[in-house]
């Protein structure tokens, strides 16, 4: 069986998808989690994350409204990216009564295996309008390189 990394450069997307479908058949439902293109993946872990590729870097985004960036802790240990934090919803003081309470407070943590093509020393993160964005630059050697064909 050919070794496929799902995080691979995907100029041959359809080929990769075919491989993944094949693997899915081979391995049962285990791979369904990693099927990125069909529909929204169902994960039971907060926060849900989207991962983008702009050619230079992978960009992971998560919706974390109302979370203070100081309450988010991002660490890299080996090739594992850990995100943990908490969301606190301030309790109202005084004579307030609630009509609706749909938002929840609590802790969260997620972990990702970084693809080995990421330069983990250059990972950066920012938070804007409640969206956490983690930038995972590709390692130099994994960037696309054009090979000149020499003619003599």
């Amino acid at each position: 069986m050919a070794l496929i990394r799902w995080f691979d450069d995907s100029d041959n997307l359809s080929q990769m998808e075919r491989h993944m479908e094949q693997m899915q058949r081979d391995m049962g439902s285990l791979w369904s989690f990693f099927r990125p293109f069909s529909s929204t993946a169902q994960v039971g872990v907060f926060p849900p994350m989207n991962i983008y590729d702009d050619g230079e870097s992978y960009i992971a985004r998560a919706e974390l409204p109302g979370v203070d960036p100081n309450d988010i802790d991002i660490t890299i240990t080996g090739d594992t990216l850990n995100i943990r934090g908490k969301r606190e919803i301030k309790q109202l003081s005084g004579a307030s009564s609630y009509h609706r309470r749909e938002r929840k407070s609590g802790e969260f943590k997620r972990a990702f295996n970084l693809p080995d093509k990421v330069d983990s020393s250059k990972v950066s993160a920012g938070c804007k309008h409640g969206i956490l964005e983690i930038r995972l630059p590709r390692a130099e050697e994994s960037k696309q390189r054009k090979i000149e064909i020499k003619t003599s």
Binding site: P36, D54, S105
Partner: protein
Amino acid sequence: MTKKDKKELEVSKKKEIEKNQGEPTREGVMYVPEVDIAENEEAITLYADLPGVHPGGVDIDVREGVLTLTAKVDSRKEEDKLVYREYDIGGYQRRFTLGERIDVEKISAKMNNGELTLVLPKAENLKPRKIQVES
């Protein structure tokens, strides 16, 4: 830290707005934001989770006792190739019927980290009007 604070957050799937609330005139999916609504003697305060919404992208409309909250999401940044998806992106819309008379002039709104705080002060001079039935 109490035991309650230790609770782990769970994923709640975004809910699309019901079509019977009126078809959105803008393209794209709209979601129902999660809100807290609190009331005290002076005001009704509404908190809404609007991740990805720029402060200028929030529109609040109060008329005939109905508050309509609409928020646009800047999707320009989503042009990069999506390689893995766990959540969907779209605007937000939700309507609320206001039980109290609101002083529309004094409504204030603030965005902080994708969280909207909307203060709707109760109108003092708009006391219930008694209608005399003539016989």
